[in-house]
Symmetry: C2
Subunit: 354 residues, 2 copies
């Protein structure tokens, strides 16, 4: 209910949203360009983000890092340093009187997800590269993404413009026919090396580990679960109600590798892993979404296929739509790493509105 | 000057912006998702846009096409059909009492540019695939782009996410080291054909014309001016004060072609045009921006270069930055055509805020 004339705008709202609306209006009129940031997780990405925020020279925005927390301690601009206590940290976020509060979840943990709903409901923004939030139940994905103040571009291929491109295509009324690509820099690197050398598969995996391209235990890359999460997110953005279990994962590792409990056990069985090569084709670990089905696994692509142009530890995403049908949109580049991820996170922080 | 408590937000503004602010506040509180659209130009892109808007099934937004104008007639939802009169059309736009008014400049003409400032100043949005606006003086580029309600993603490579990606990189504090690419689908097609066949250059140009890939007179593609405009826009987005004349254009056409006045004259000299091929290299018409300098012209790229993967009439843009240094971001796909352009325009309309 509202009336409007040249002198007044009057709007009647339910009393329970008065605080929220007043805050929003205040942001909108006065200091929409101040961002008050709470960082959860100060590992590689969190640390890189803090450095990036301190060094940024954009004068249009003011960035205040109000508080940070890791598994050991938490620091708050106003309340000093304390032993880590996530509940108390979230209480700070909820009750601090700053405007435009944004929580950045730089963990890869499930722990923070318990607070997402409460934060978003209280008009606190969330920016996250953490894939876990988007890959719980489809219902929670729908809930989170119903808030414009929830930004998650970096959950797929870090700073590469995959999610925004997909969303823009959908917004404009285009229809996504298929998404395929190499969504893991680690697996991209391993298979590119495997295609172009005669080295045994196990040697290439060890080399990738030595170069710092893998998780602490490379099994966590090679089992494909991370890639499943990424293609699941893209499928869900396309409006498909799908759970992680619905993503088909054709394993190429020997069972002993998959079931290994330690890195030593993993490597002791990996020498049996010899993915078959085919003349005239490259072998790649491809995620694909097509006809409402998602899958991850080894695929053979001919030399004319965009994926055969993959280099180093690049990611590549190929989006075929009703409009981009004969020739798809292809986006390629580094899709992991603390620096490019934190840059993407900062870009999300800047674009976040309430 | 403002005061705020739990019950009131009071803000004192200059009387000359009261109308503008009241409008903005109204959009912000009540119907930010209604878009009232005025379309200038009903050629291929304009017509495709109108069809797209009529067919769109997004329920979050309401799109009203209030009026359209072409060189012959104009139609207004409330005032009916009239002989085309651009001044009067703009008066409609300025005085109509709708909120969230957006003018879409689907022409390739200079005529509309005279009104850009007045429209933007009056809080009317502009969405445009028309490169002319962004390639006048650097000062006018700065003026237009200082408004968030000016959207121009489709001025470079149509619906491909080039401008948004560049802006996001810059926002996040990254530094652009170079941009290079094939920014013309026409020239991409012509040189890909030239690389992969033994046909004379002139035959390939004629073939491209027959396929509808060229301007009415192919000289308008081959003189590189359109590509100059595109790389100029990208350079300006990077913050470089540069004019169209500052873009180096190394012509590869014989002087008689360049100076030809008609298509017949153009073709009669084109048979002299035989760009030299080099073994092991592909030849492409490349736009590049590097070390604050922009240029367009023929370049030889080796088979490992991303551009050698170019297909059909695709565009390709390669962005190398401080963060994406070893491996650049590569975006490839169709970068022209009424359908993908109008989809990009619609995406801009949806994202436009005041």
């Amino acid at each position: 209910v509202y009336t409007i004339n040249d002198h007044n705008i009057c709007c009647i709202v339910n009393s329970d949203v008065v605080y929220n609306i007043t805050n929003r209006l205040h942001s909108c009129l006065f200091d929409g360009n101040t961002k008050n940031i709470y960082i959860i997780g100060t590992g590689l990405i969190g640390t890189s983000l803090i450095k990036r925020i301190h060094n940024i020279s954009i004068t249009d925005y003011t960035f205040n890092i109000i508080a940070t927390i890791n598994t050991r301690t938490m620091e708050h601009e106003d309340y000093g340093t304390h032993t880590s206590d996530l509940n108390r940290f979230i209480e700070f976020v909820l009750t601090d009187t700053y405007n435009n509060k944004i929580v950045v979840d730089c963990t890869s943990s499930n722990l923070i997800l318990n607070y997402y709903d409460k934060l978003l409901l209280n008009n606190i923004g969330i920016v996250t590269p953490n894939k876990k939030g988007n890959t719980q139940s489809y219902q929670s994905f729908l809930r989170y993404t119903s808030y414009i103040s929830y930004k998650y571009e970096t959950t797929v291929c870090a700073g590469l413009p995959i999610i925004s491109t997909l969303k823009n295509l959908l917004l404009s009324g285009d229809e996504i026919l298929s998404i395929e690509g190499v969504l893991s820099g680690t697996l991209g690197y391993i298979f590119t090396q495997y295609n172009n050398t005669d080295k045994p598969f196990i040697d290439i995996v060890k080399q990738a580990e030595q170069l710092g391209y893998t998780e602490p235990n490379p099994l966590d890359d090679l089992n494909g679960v991370d890639v499943m999460r990424k293609i699941l997110i893209l499928a869900r953005i396309c409006g498909i109600s799908m759970e992680l279990d619905d993503v088909a994962n054709e394993l190429f590792l020997p069972p002993n590798c998959i079931n290994s409990k330690t890195k030593a056990e993993f490597y002791s069985s990996l020498h049996e892993c010899k993915p078959e090569k085919k003349a005239g084709f490259d072998i790649h670990y491809v995620a694909s979404f097509k006809q409402n089905k998602a899958s991850v696994g080894i695929q053979y692509v001919n030399k004319a296929h965009p994926l055969s142009g993959l280099k180093g530890n690049d990611n590549m995403v190929i989006i075929t739509t009703k409009l981009y049908f004969k020739n798809p949109i292809v986006i390629q580049g580094p899709g992991a790493g603390a620096e490019v991820t934190s840059a993407g996170v900062l870009s999300d922080i800047i674009q976040l509105t309430f």
